[in-house]
Symmetry: C2
Subunit: 281 residues, 2 copies
């Protein structure tokens, strides 16, 4: 069975459109987001375009700022300006930055209230101490899928990914919701056995065809968070055609986790503005 991630995304978007209207009509706030990149390449341009399109649907003002040939000092100075500019509500730094740029250092210049990617040390710390504020979009999208499926608290969830975008914050977010996380990676011993022993398997390996029948059982719910390109086609980690009829449920790629992920950036943005306006009223 395919998990209908487009339907989840659609329902989240409708909700955001309503909140965005409330912000504008009741409070006169038009949410605004700035995407900052340095020497952007083709792939990330496509991603930025899709985020811009979504912003327009949601009534969010989107500014695309590509700093061509910027030095680290120039990026720093730009981030400082955006951080202190009250008309900017959210800031994202697009990956990759040029070689030698320390991504985390720049992410940490964004104040928590504007860190819509949830990648700063403070945002990750707030997740770890169960005071979630901004959440990394992919991890958050996976949580929305689990909620949609009504996965009961206490259930085991195995993640094959230990990045700051997925595995690490997702493990803490799962604990915050009473799930039981296991975090696996390239060094994990006995990975197939561990993957099979858990009802929910999240994969973010980045290798097309990596997840074969050796990693699943007929009871597996497979959430495929990878976006790989193979033979000119977009595909996840799962050997989708061979698995889909032999496991409990699967998210397709495209049209799976990736359909929800960009929506979660705007959920971060709009929820934090709603929160702020509630406090000031």
């Amino acid at each position: 069975m395919d998990i209908d991630c487009r339907a989840i995304a659609q329902s989240l978007k409708l909700n955001l459109m309503q909140q965005s209207l409330v912000l504008e009509e009741d409070m006169g706030i038009v949410p605004s987001l700035v995407s900052v990149s340095v020497n952007r390449t083709g792939d990330s341009s496509a991603y930025v375009r899709s985020k811009r399109k979504l912003a327009e649907e949601l009534g969010v003002q989107f500014r695309d700022m590509d700093l061509k040939g910027a030095t680290a000092a120039e990026l720093e100075s730009q981030l400082r300006d955006l951080s202190s500019d009250p008309s900017v509500h959210g800031i994202m730094i697009e990956s990759p930055l040029p070689g030698g740029f320390d991504f985390q250092k720049f992410a940490d210049m964004i104040p928590a209230a504007k860190d819509v990617d949830g990648l700063s040390t403070e945002s990750q710390g707030l997740i770890a101490v169960n005071r979630e504020f901004m959440r990394p979009a992919t991890a958050y999208a996976i949580i929305k899928i689990l909620e949609h499926l009504n996965v009961p608290g206490g259930s085991s969830v195995t993640i094959i990914n230990r990045s700051k975008l997925i595995g690490r914050p997702l493990a803490m977010m799962l604990l915050n919701r009473d799930y039981t996380p296991t975090v696996c990676h390239s060094k994990t011993i006995d990975l197939q056995r561990i993957a099979r022993s858990s009802g929910i398997l999240v994969t973010g390996v980045g290798k097309a065809g990596f997840i074969t029948s050796d990693y699943v059982t007929e009871n597996t719910v497979l959430i495929d968070a990878s976006i790989n390109f193979r033979n000119g086609k977009i595909t996840g980690d799962a050997d989708y055609e061979n698995l889909r009829d032999h496991i409990m449920a699967i998210t397709p790629v495209p049209g799976g986790v990736g359909a929800i992920t960009p929506v979660m950036i705007y959920t971060n943005l709009i929820a934090s503005l709603m929160e702020r306006s509630r406090i000031s009223h």
Copy 2:
């Protein structure tokens, strides 16, 4: 087999004594630590006394500050003074604080460089993004035991505890060292099966006799991080007498994790001072 945690603690202490001497002789720095409590009770007094005794052994200046009847504002003001006082190198807040005091809020007033308990949002965030600086002492003690046992990277480690003192930071610290963590808790479904499936089992449940033979196999290495009182005796979570000869290895209580934990506070303190003095030289 008992894991000889007192020997691990002893070797760590010898190392700290040497570093402490270097700091004093070469740099004229005597490490200093302040323990702050409000309306301290008997149990935590005993813990503070043992920390003071260890400080004396290690050449650390220890100040015990119990604020009797202090309000939240008074505690805040005291923490602000200690944070800006250059003669204070480390600050610990003793639990429990009076009802209504938000422990995390006070922990977050301690700057990262002085947060020797590793409980601030920033310290926990630094662990989560693999830039460990200050580590919660119990989690760090468990890492030292794994290193002592030469547990290979990739191995599975199951933790029954999801607190900010043990389970959460330990999971991230395990990932930072290539282990494969699973974090369980009171809501976990099928806990005994999960516990048995992992070579290393860490328990911090706080219930004497909780870990019975149902949770282990003959290959289990059991790290018991609890300190419980039963019938006037100190005991961990494990049914120690019945388990010790039927599993691979076990940490006794007392004389196990708890023998190493206080040493890790001073490891945080002295390592950060060594780091700082290296930078300034």
